[in-house]
Symmetry: C2
Subunit: 536 residues, 2 copies
Amino acid sequence: MAGVSVIQMFGRRVSWRGGCEWHRHSRNGQRRMAVSGQSPYCSAVESPAVQHAGRSRRKILTLQSMNPQVRAVEYAVRGPIVLKAGEIEKELQNGVKKPFDEVIKANIGDAHAMGQQPITFLRQVVALCTYPDLLDNPSLPNDAKRRARRILESCGGQSLGSYSASQGVNCIREDVAKFIEKRDGGVPAHPDNIYLTTGASDGISSILKILVSGEGQSRTGVMIPIPQYPLYSAALSELDAIQVNYYLDEENCWALDVRELQRAYYSAREYCNPKVLCIINPGNPTGQVQSKHCIEEVIHFALEEGLFLLADEVYQDNIYSKSCQFHSFKKVLYEMGPEYFNNVELASFHSTSKGYMGECGYRGGYMEVVNLHPDITAQLVKLLSVRLCPPVSGQAAMDVVVNPPHPGEESYEQFIKEKEAILSNLAEKAKLTEELFNQVPGIKCNPLQGAMYAFPRIFIPDKAIEKSKEHQMAPDMYYCMRLLEETGICVVPGSGFGQKEGTHHFRMTILPPVEKLKILLQKVKDFHMRFLEDYA
Amino acid sequence: MAGVSVIQMFGRRVSWRGGCEWHRHSRNGQRRMAVSGQSPYCSAVESPAVQHAGRSRRKILTLQSMNPQVRAVEYAVRGPIVLKAGEIEKELQNGVKKPFDEVIKANIGDAHAMGQQPITFLRQVVALCTYPDLLDNPSLPNDAKRRARRILESCGGQSLGSYSASQGVNCIREDVAKFIEKRDGGVPAHPDNIYLTTGASDGISSILKILVSGEGQSRTGVMIPIPQYPLYSAALSELDAIQVNYYLDEENCWALDVRELQRAYYSAREYCNPKVLCIINPGNPTGQVQSKHCIEEVIHFALEEGLFLLADEVYQDNIYSKSCQFHSFKKVLYEMGPEYFNNVELASFHSTSKGYMGECGYRGGYMEVVNLHPDITAQLVKLLSVRLCPPVSGQAAMDVVVNPPHPGEESYEQFIKEKEAILSNLAEKAKLTEELFNQVPGIKCNPLQGAMYAFPRIFIPDKAIEKSKEHQMAPDMYYCMRLLEETGICVVPGSGFGQKEGTHHFRMTILPPVEKLKILLQKVKDFHMRFLEDYA
């Protein structure tokens, strides 16, 4: 029975453990958090001898013997709270009574899972590429067939089943370059600088992998916003790079202040070699949209201090505030003149997963590089070639995103109607969420200018903070666990993204349909009022 | 013009550089090859100051400043010879006269690119999942529709565009488990132990990432066959793990001899902690199929020495010799009794890319784990969750591979016909290739028992070896470059896979259509005879 008890212990640990990790994280400030020996896993459990027929043997691969950098990785968006949500869903299926009928997963930006319908044209093109017999089928539109034929002609053996070049299918990279040129008002883009990727995460991880080097005080430091999207902290942990935090200004709609960049940079130079600066615009989880002036300041700073820029622009289509506009780093860089455009090294990222498409499952994306040293281009292609190529159907989906129906084509009107319905619906939900949260005492929510999340600040009473310590959880993890257990709503604690010491938040997507979102927000409000009362 | 000259230098280096790298590799024997400072890149080029309008600035990301572990990565299957092939293709397109009309890329196992047609049923199911409006289309068969409905019901929002669980879509993991049980004559398989992956490469890299730890003499050693598929050496280089080579026995049809495993293991213990043993069965590039007895010996050795087993079984459907049969490591492990089945830690891999499907572009695959510690299960899920999920359309393709039409279903006959035509055609080409190579003086080719490659040994005269040294290339790289330049045939030098000191080989796929393959083999023969004459 030894095996079973280990699994049970483990089950419990999953629930409680995240708390300690994130708690430590939020106290740690400047440097990367988890250090191998400190893991609550390690102190809690000895590598169990396996008891079975025959001799008992120790496992080869255990928490003690595994890669400590992987052990240190945390990824809150699919972390302990989501595992708990899965457990509760199973209980509901097995007839366990709860104060709710379903778990609502507002933890992840997964539009289709929340009922958003795919863009018809995109799916038609990909289906035609998948099963080219459909090219003779009169029920599918000719513009979709033209797109599909063009993609297939650029594939080996005219099949999505062939490997593409590691950098991606040629004609799709051409389309991406044209899309960027158009988006950026004519700033030149070249297919050679486009790399199709397995979602944006893959591009970000790949370029970070190349960038990280050095030992001790020379170890590469990577500046990331706090709050951040935890792909960054996870990738840096895997790579054993130094995470250098710069804080976004919550009092000022989560704006990026270049003085804070300077503070973070100069203090980091005392213990590492900061050489990469990551920007997420529009912000995730914070939803701010950067002004052109702010981007100029960031670029100037990067040039002055010799920082390689990573611009995560996957939410570029998700702008809701009338006063805001998306400016790509590439375009601003160009407009700042040759001193900047010929020198600053930049990689920017886009994806099929967000925007109005929401095609997360296709794992499509691209990276554009600017001013990459030609030697590094070769190194990047070599690194990517080990994984052979990004999924070709995801590349085809990316092609439709960058080359949608044009005015005059037969699918144009339906495409525009679908796209605008989704985006205006998201804008409505962004406004609704902000307004409703700000009506709750003890919750304060900045405007959702863009992206697809609210990241409200929540007041947690001292007594609740004490209670959370008893459970060895970060206070906002405790809050979110109680929210989940009492309402079935799954959101991610702010500590999973990082936040200023002493502040607490959670991230919630605005993707549920409007009527459901209203109920959800009302439930959060009721829960919050009860929580305040319970711990008054 | 500084920029241009750098690019030109670079262009030349691409062609010649691989040679030095592979040359060093083949001389290095036991330990991993490339060491940062030794790269011919580093000595050849200084990080160029960028000359532009305004100040000139040094690049941040250069060969000197980049991650040295990534710099050390080599991947021959898409390496310098393939870049050269691309250059030649462009020259042909631009009207440059060559002694041939087209480049034949026999470097990579990319079946559809060589004209193999997709399995109809597989594409129908994936197209139906992609564009569910087709479920109403009478031209598609009902069994394909049933499969598609079942997959969609297991997807969030019934859409391939939703993220799946990081471990993969539930019902597909169930189908994989059933497939394995059936394949292995009833040996139990559980969906919880199945992880869907982005091709097999992704699964192999992920589990290696978790396995590698320690410093200095305690650094993890990973035993791999030589010749190997270079994903392994590349992944180990990225992870800075110690590559421990064991040599397959060319004189004995590339068999694995357990005494050689012992030799490699005990000598590796002097400088690292060998704890992982990788097996490729059927072999890539070597094409041998392991006997059950041999697998038993390997498993016994792994238990005795405490080694974690990785079994790369992506060619399990590609068995051509009548005297050979595929035995999965999992099944043999089970049949060896509880002492083994309850203790040996094993991960095995399969893929949509090979077999009779050849669906490389979908990046579908799975990993099955046996005896993984429950703590490690959680760590693995966490690590995979950072990349969110494997491409869901690739998962759907995997589902068809493990759950093809059953007897009595309307698509069954066509499916069987397509599958058997492809496999018998491959068997014919395997035999043809072996026979024709063995008719050429100075070429010796083992039987192609399985997989999809020939890996013939080639005699290279001393004068040619001297010539290759002048070009700073490994002798077989020089041979393959000349073959490419004179015939347009692109194959990969044996030095890219590893080989015994003083021996030379190349890897060639048997995927071109029979008539084209015959011409290709005749061209290789003619080239080889000329080559022997030229350097007599």
